[in-house]
């Protein structure tokens, strides 16, 4: 009986270690960005385009964006003040440079601390990661726009942006 309990304990411990390592691997890779978990943020930011993971931009970028929603890349995406506050709080707390996302700092490489970039697709790292995509491919009808991550990254909604 005792050996059985011991092997169960060892198995559970190994499983736990494996799970932790897997999480670390995901967080440390350029291909996993935790998806938005706040339902309000997911709904409001995900109506016209995918609700982009907060870890794709630094906090200062989200703050600037949330203050200019009436002209959101040329569109009116304004929300009421209480909604804007809640969304901003979530995005800032989960931004690329937030406390819990130390590994995401690599994503912001070569982004000046004084800049608050607004377009994810203009981050040096994003441009670098997509350099092998030809201009002709971007114009494919199913893609529509560089903002349409899921056209190529089929699991983007779940946070996975591996090469497809």
């Amino acid at each position: 009986m005792k050996p059985l309990i011991r092997s169960i304990a060892v198995g559970a411990a190994l499983f736990a270690v494996g799970a932790v390592m897997l999480e670390r691997a995901k967080a440390g890779s350029d291909e996993f960005f935790p998806p938005v978990t706040d339902p309000l943020t997911r709904q409001e930011c995900g109506s016209c385009h995918m609700a982009f993971p907060a870890g794709l931009l630094p906090a200062r970028s989200w703050q600037k964006m949330m203050g200019e929603l009436d002209n959101h890349f040329g569109d009116d995406a304004s929300v009421d003040a209480a909604t804007a506050r809640q969304i901003t709080t979530y995005l800032v707390a989960h931004a690329a440079d937030s406390a819990g996302h130390g590994d995401m700092r690599r994503w912001l490489r070569r982004v000046p601390a004084s800049a608050a970039p607004q377009r994810i697709t203009e981050l040096p790292k994003w441009v670098r990661e997509h350099r092998e995509v030809s201009p002709r491919e971007w114009t494919r009808k199913e893609i529509a726009s560089k903002v349409n991550c899921v056209a190529c990254h089929v699991d983007a909604e779940r946070g996975y942006f591996e090469d497809d």
Partner: protein, 137 residues
């Protein structure tokens, strides 16, 4: 027994769709009342006018969205697509029975989309007409 459970199921479905129709009817009634308050000659919302508003090409809005159908598509019962490629659920009530049941959400999208398509906010009459059209769809 099977007949009874089928009856119960259908009854439940009916109650559910009635429950969703009520807030939508309230929203429609509020737009009609607002239109009437602004124009004594207003004789009620019109699904026919609403369909024209939905399908016509308008000037004044953005070049890539001259019509509601630019994003929502010609078929109200089929999915639409935003300019950046995200799918939009169909707008017809028959296939999207939970739509237009939250007044604040309805207002938010009229405000945004009328500006995109018409270059201005829609009047209460236009909103009522458009909603009346979608209810027939």
């Amino acid at each position: 027994m099977q007949t009874l459970s089928r009856f119960m199921f259908l009854a439940a479905l009916t109650v559910m769709s009635v429950a969703q129709a009520a807030p939508r009817d309230d929203i429609l009634a509020a737009y009609a009342a607002q239109a009437k308050a602004g124009d004594a000659a207003f004789a009620g919302v019109s699904a026919v006018r609403g369909e024209a508003l939905h399908r016509d090409r308008h000037a004044g809005g953005k070049a890539d969205s001259p019509s509601c159908t630019s994003c929502h598509g010609e078929n109200t019962r089929a999915a639409g697509r935003t300019p950046v490629g995200k799918t939009i659920d169909p707008v017809a009530v028959s296939v999207a029975p939970t739509r237009y049941t939250d007044a604040a959400k309805v207002e938010k999208w009229f405000r945004r989309n009328c500006r995109e398509v018409l270059g201005r906010e829609c009047s209460a009459r236009e909103k009522g007409d458009w909603l009346a059209f979608m209810i027939t769809q």
